[in-house]
């Protein structure tokens, strides 16, 4: 063996264990998921090759798949707007709070540390109509007019085709946002603290007002971080599952999100179908992420951060 190949082999040997582990735990399951998605069976014995039948079932025939994507999308939209806007405002506030910043960082982040199941079960106990702890609090604070059945899936607020928006779905979206805003807050705060203070000082010397500093300095420089937060929010929320399962059990399909459908099909021994659903969801999420990156590039070039 010449010394070049020997060096290459030795160098490769150092990454070999990591590569092997990565292949076993990431690449193999990934490829195996693809293989299973073309089969029908329960993953133990039966495995019949069915071509694209599982994908056809998911994309064309399954009446509950696209509503579940919509419900996931609805919760994501809530998280993108409500959750991230609150996170941004809090990050802006805490960014300036020199003495108490650390305290707030811990307070806002603590919810993210809790398990999704725990948050789901706890909020269910608070929101469920009997004994109705949350409703009792509302009544105590003179907000009795606001009392209603928070997990009610019976009352449809509005309907688009097969998709029904209920109180249960809105409550699910709110609880998800409440649990998740800590992540966005921490990332946005880190982004804010990375913006050099000299830029604000120069702007002040040039007579810029605070809203002008925000629009001309903070927002453009924070755009990559906001895009990152948005991508993470989309990926995280579209794959949310445990909290929703604990909170509503799917509410007869009216809060059923894509991962819950995958879970139900796995439990029902429809392994091929579940894998096909996983792949479809993955493709949708990758497409959304790339779209967000394109939008980010466009926004940054429009605002003059990148050359247009």
């Amino acid at each position: 063996m010449n010394s070049y190949l020997k060096d290459k082999a030795v160098n490769f040997s150092f990454i070999f264990p990591a590569l092997l582990l990565f292949s076993i735990f990431y690449i193999y399951p990934f490829i195996y998921t693809f293989i299973l998605s073309f089969q029908r069976g329960d993953g133990i014995y039966t495995s019949q090759f069915v071509g694209l039948a599982n994908f056809k079932e998911v994309l064309l025939y399954d009446k509950d798949w696209w509503p579940s994507m919509f419900y996931g999308g609805f919760i994501t939209l809530f998280a993108l707007t409500f959750q991230n806007v609150i996170a941004l405002f809090l990050a802006l506030a805490v960014d300036k709070a020199i003495k108490t910043g650390k305290f707030y960082r811990v307070i806002f982040f603590v919810l993210c540390v809790l398990s999704e199941i725990i948050v789901g079960l706890l909020t269910r106990q608070i929101l469920i109509s009997n004994p109705g702890i949350f409703n009792q609090w509302l009544s105590k604070f003179g907000l009795g007019f606001f009392i209603h059945n928070w997990l009610d899936a019976k009352q449809i607020l509005f309907q688009i085709g097969n998709v029904k928006i209920t109180h249960a779905l809105i409550t699910t979206a709110l609880v998800h946002s409440w649990k998740g805003f800590g992540w966005a807050f921490v990332i946005l705060l880190a982004g804010l603290q990375a913006i050099p203070e000299q830029l604000y000082e120069s702007a002040r010397i040039d007579g810029a007002r605070s809203h002008q500093s925000f629009l001309r300095i903070t927002l453009p420089l924070l755009t990559p971080v906001i895009v990152l937060v948005c991508i993470l929010t989309i990926l995280g929320t579209m794959q949310a599952f445990a909290m929703i399962l604990a909170l509503t059990r799917g509410a007869g399909g009216l809060t059923e999100v894509p991962v819950m459908r995958i879970y139900n099909h796995l439990r029902g021994s429809q392994i091929g179908l579940a894998c096909a659903e996983g792949i479809v969801l993955g493709v949708v999420l990758i497409t959304l992420s790339f779209t967000m990156l394109r939008i980010s590039k466009w926004v940054r070039s429009r605002w003059g951060v990148l050359p247009s």
Partner: protein, 429 residues
């Protein structure tokens, strides 16, 4: 001394793969049992110790909880060829069939039929039937007995006797018919302000059990099985009648709020606190109520009838154990299971876990509340006993449709149409 890069590489690879050698069984006689029954852990461990003391063979019960996790673990272990000597399989009979066809489960027929079928005869027929595959079965499994039931389960209606008394109803006369059930529940709700009926219908299988019991009462078991086989449509009038019962339940305003998002544990908690007059649950609930509210005054009663046809009760083997086909300890494992399902051990389990026994002639050990329903063990119905199993996608659609009828956002007719559509699609595949 300095080692060359190549020497380091050889050492690294040797160390890396050293953990990959197959584990050698140190104790050849050891029997390992995997289970998911959290509530029976201590009782199982006690029996394991006793067996070891008697025979010298170590027995280790390993608990994996919750059942979903257990189920995934068993599937993964089967694929990896790493199953223990004894294990349980959760899920539909189709799953058991797949395990058998993949060669993981031992056919116990020769052992069950030894000594003039002594072991086989000790079980209630229907409980054993859940793990039996008959000739020409639809799962294409070689006929045989593939599991050992360790207890039995029945799904029953339950009523709170104290609430009956407070509402001026006779606590010893529960409702017999569906109409009486609605009237009683409404009376209690109106007089006492508690819910008429509570159940964990957020878990689809519970609403499905009840629908099946009513379906069999309305159309008979043959027509019911014919539907699964595809000979009768879900849009048949009898099925519409079944779905309409859930509409009546909703309209009668007796159901607990949030019933369609409620899990069984929550419903058990609510019933044990006297927050509802009626519930529908399994016979295991006796143990649950004993722990939640030992002074709760309640009793089981039969399904409120809709027709005069014979009633069937959803139930069967609560849990069954299978023996690993390729185990070198299979004979020891079978001997242990024989001992485990003998009268003395079954009586011990009854006393400690308040579950119905898998074998007959243990009735005197049962608490009176369970003794009263042992007759129902002779008229069980269960998917594992039917000659055909419904596809899980059809069951999923049916459960959701029933939940939506209860919510009042779907009509029985729409539900029937939707279920038949998926049934048709599955059949075409």
């Amino acid at each position: 001394m300095r080692l060359s890069k190549m020497s380091w590489l050889i050492i690294a690879i040797t160390v890396f793969f050293s953990g990959c050698a197959p584990k050698q069984e140190v104790d050849e006689k050891k029997i390992v049992v995997w289970h998911w029954m959290n509530d029976r852990k201590d009782a199982f461990d006690t029996l394991a110790k006793e067996y070891t003391a008697q025979t010298g063979i170590p027995v280790k019960f390993k608990l994996f909880f919750p059942p979903d996790i257990y189920s995934q673990k068993v599937i993964a272990a089967a694929r990896a060829g790493n199953l223990p000597e004894i294990f349980g399989i959760l899920g539909e009979k189709q799953s058991l069939g797949s395990f058998i066809k993949a060669g993981h489960v031992l056919d116990l027929t020769p052992f069950m039929e030894k000594n003039e079928k002594e072991w086989k005869k000790s079980f209630y027929t229907q409980t054993l039937q859940t793990t039996v595959f008959n000739k020409n079965n639809s799962y294409e499994v070689s006929p045989g007995i593939y599991g050992v039931p360790i207890d039995a389960t029945l799904m029953q209606f339950i009523y709170n006797k104290s609430l009956f008394e407070k509402a001026g109803l006779d606590p010893n006369n529960p409702p017999q018919t569906f109409d009486e059930f609605i009237t009683y529940a409404q009376t209690i709700k109106n007089k006492l302000g508690v819910d008429g009926f509570v159940c964990g219908w957020g878990e689809g299988w519970l609403i499905n059990c009840l629908a099946v019991e009513w379906a069999i009462n309305i159309m008979g078991e043959k027509k019911f099985v014919d539907t699964i086989e595809g000979k009768v449509s879900y849009t048949d009038n009898d099925w519409i009648k079944v779905f309409s019962l859930f509409k009546v339940l909703k309209e009668s305003d007796i159901l607990a709020n949030d019933i369609t998002t409620m899990i069984n544990k929550e419903s058990e908690d609510a019933f044990s606190k006297g927050m509802a007059a009626f519930s529908f649950n399994g016979s295991w609930t006796v143990n649950v109520y004993k722990q939640l509210a030992s002074d709760l005054d309640y009793a089981f009663f039969s399904l409120p009838r809709v027709s005069n046809r014979a009633l069937k009760v959803w139930g069967g083997a609560g849990s069954s154990f299978m023996v690993k086909a390729k185990s070198s300890n299979k004979i020891d494992a079978i001997e242990f299971l024989k001992w485990f399902t003998a009268k003395k051990q079954q009586s011990f389990l009854i006393k400690n876990t308040n579950n119905l026994p898998a074998i007959a002639n243990c009735e005197e050990e049962l608490p009176p509340i369970l003794r009263a329903i042992t007759d129902n063990l002779e008229r069980l119905t269960h998917p594992n006993i039917w000659p055909y199993n419904e596809d899980s996608r059809v069951i999923e659609v049916m459960n959701k449709a029933l939940q939506q009828i209860v919510m009042g956002i779907k009509t029985p007719q729409d539900a029937a149409k939707e279920i038949q559509e998926i049934k048709q699609r599955v059949a075409n595949q």
